[in-house]
């Protein structure tokens, strides 16, 4: 059986945003899609959660300085 990498403690939470949510994030941050950091379509987490190219992921990570930290990435090769 394959290990579920999403349960690994070093893998932060990745959430696929709906189109409306994505739009909202871009608007709030006042940025365009190509200013977002990218995450490769063959990234193990992207494959595991089934994100498609063009999806924006919300990543919630533990942070040494801020407790938890939210960042966004776009799936793009």
């Amino acid at each position: 059986m394959k290990t579920d990498i999403l349960k690994h403690k070093l893998v932060p939470e990745h959430i696929i945003l709906t189109d409306e949510e994505a739009e909202e994030v871009l608007l709030e941050k006042n940025i365009t899609e190509d200013q977002l950091q990218k995450i490769l379509p063959n990234d193990p987490v992207v494959k595991a959660i089934g994100a498609k190219e063009g999806d924006i992921l919300k990543i919630i990570r533990d942070s040494e300085t801020a407790g938890t930290f939210v960042s966004y990435r776009i799936v793009r090769p």
Binding site: Q37, S63, T65, A66, F69, V70, S71
Partner: protein, 873 residues
Amino acid sequence: MKGIIKKVSEIDFGLMSPETIRKMSVTKIVTPDTYDEDGYPIEAGLMDPRLGVIDPGLKCRTCGSKGGDCQGHFGHINFARPVIHVGFADTIHKILRSTCRKCGRVLLTETEKLEYKDRLQNKINNGEDISGILKQIHLSAKKEKCPHCEEEQEEIKIDKPISLVEGNYKLTASEVRERLETIPEEDYIYIGINPKVARPEWMVLTVLPVPPVTVRPSITLETGERSEDDLTHKLVDILRINQRLKENMEAGAPQLIVEDLWELLQYHVTTYFDNEASGVPPARHRSGRPLKTLAQRLKGKEGRFRSNLAGKRVNFSARTVISPDPTLSINEVGVPEMIAKEVTVPIAVTEWNMDQMKEYILNGPDVHPGANYIIRPDGRKIRVYDETKETVIENLEPGYIVERHIIDGDIVLFNRQPSLHRMSMMAHEVRVLPYKTFRLNLCVCPPYNADFDGDEMNMHVFQTPEARAEANDIMKVQEHILSPRYGGPIIGAIHDHITGAYLLTHKDTVFEEDKAFQIIKRSKMELPEAKGRPWTGKEIFSLLLPDKLNLVYKAEICRKCEECKQRDCEYDAYVVISNGQLLQGVVDDKGYGSGSGKILDAIVKQFSPSDARYFLDHGTKLAVFGGVMQRGFTTGTADEEIPKEAEDRIAELLEKSDRRVEQLIEAYENNELEALPGRSLRETLEMKIMQVLGEARDNTGVIAERYFTTSNSAVIMALTGARGSMLNLTQIATCVGQQAVRGGRINRGYIDRTLPHFHKGDVGSKASGFVHSSYKKGLDPLEFFFHAMGGREGLVDTAIRTAQSGYMQRRLVNALHDLSVHEDGTVRDNKGTIIQFKYGEDGINPAKSDYGAVANLDRLIEEMRLEDSEASK
């Protein structure tokens, strides 16, 4: 400057075709000679006058402009046989491997071609990197049979720098060129070549551009002898062999000779481009020095990029030895008069400063507040001489610019290498002083990492009002008291300042009022109102503290008792400052020292940098005049003296631990030792011995400390954090302790023993580098040897560490230099791509944080409580 202003819309990097090389050439070069007997350049030689002129008097034969204006013109050499360009040998190999040996087409099936073409075109249109796809193509284009003409393929190997071998046959450069020529243009895209700017066969040279003489100037020595540039030497070699090759071929010489000459030509052309190519012996000068050819001119730290393009030499700068001056403010720098008269500030003449400027000009270049040059409104620069200054003054009118000497109060940039952080370059105010060294306040030594054992520093003078304003607001020393590395002060008191403040604020320090006022006056502070009674040191120090300052912290001298008695601390280590009054506790390293000064930190954060500057300038003076100089302060070996009984106890203690070590070894030999988890028996023994000996050294320290009094100067320095540590004192007074090499006890040297003075297999304390003696008593020869071993390792380590961290820093800076924090708190690169949604994920500026954290709640509560209690009183 003449020229046409145009905007660059696009840059293409391509190869130069033989036609372009011939077209831009002004002459064909054939003769390897440079000058004739009369010293005139030979036509069609390497110094052909049409290649441009360097002498300012002569006119260029090609463009007609005078020497200096003419940037030179290229010539060319036609090769008798083609030659491979070293820089492209790898690329050529890759291309040959993925194309057919017969039909020249890329070894991809039509379906593969279609797929790759699509992906490549996509990337190219988006302006993205295609190297990843090219790598894939290179892998899939490795076929045994050509999919187009069915030709069997042979493997092509590259032999070190430039030889391409197919099977067992070494391809000649002509054959390589022929093969590259057969590649059809529509296949170029798969090998990563843009047909608009390059063709693969151009990577094999048939004609060589000869750089103009301005690129390779010859130097005339004092003896009148001419010395040619390395490039010229190399070109002479190339021409000579090319000529011989041509003659031999025309004379129909045997194939073998022609091939040898061809090979030689290839060697010379290779070293002409790169004299450090692996597998090629470097071409050498007559003296044996390797020639500096084209690649060497560009490469590395001394190359064109790093030393001429990424870094430049500047005017209006000065460098000299530094020395300390405690009377200067931290914001100031003492500048020798000699330097002040050399570097200048341009001042625009107006009707309001006219008289002042005239005075400067009248003083001339040799009297201090003078002027060196004036610049007329038409841009002409005129030097001020004693003979001409009267006429200069007469003509002076608004619109002129006077380059006057730097004077007191000017702002300059001060720097010490290595410039590792932003505090390595800070703005200072000038104080022109006699003698020949730069003077600086001792508090700015830590940020520059400077000392006065011969260190030199650089000074740069700002040339525009904008630069001065910016420097004054953000680069001034006082703006950098807090380090962005850890939100605490990096500029602060050191050494005697700390001892002094401790002595001044000590419990028993009391001065008669007149004495107290003398100290205050000497520290250049305003005299307070008389109290009519003696002053305590704490009261004197409190004069410096802002009225609204409330602070509670534990001083450096805190003994870290199990239960803190807080305000009833018997060592006076609990510091309480209430409404600007130092109620209790002593001021030491934790108070206003560099790196950890809490009071300093609080003043910068709660008040202002200039309040902190005042506090530091006068606090250090107060410490010196009121602390150190009132009592007198000195140290010597007498401070590490311990009585006989202590020595006996220490000897006994060491003996006991030696016995303990023996026991451990015995237990190990009898196999009675139990291994610690994850360790072998041997490692367990080592660890246990280390532990026993470490404790032994520490315990000797504890014994010694009991005999050290608090009036002992060395102890005061160690406890207050001024200089040295208790460990240092222990090592001097009682026992130096274990010497280590590679993190463990010393076990190297002879077979099974460290020195021939021991038995084989002896792993006792003495045989493995435990030093029983103290520095004061002196080490015996064996101890001395072990100590030298440990000491040497320390030196080597620091040398290696600096080299490694220097390179790490360079890579880090190169990777991060164009990231910046934007107004919305995001970190972005130069394209606007977000790197981090919030700087540091918490958006905190570490320089303004509380030692890295947002806030220290415990401290805030304590201080608020203090404010409350004071208010209720």
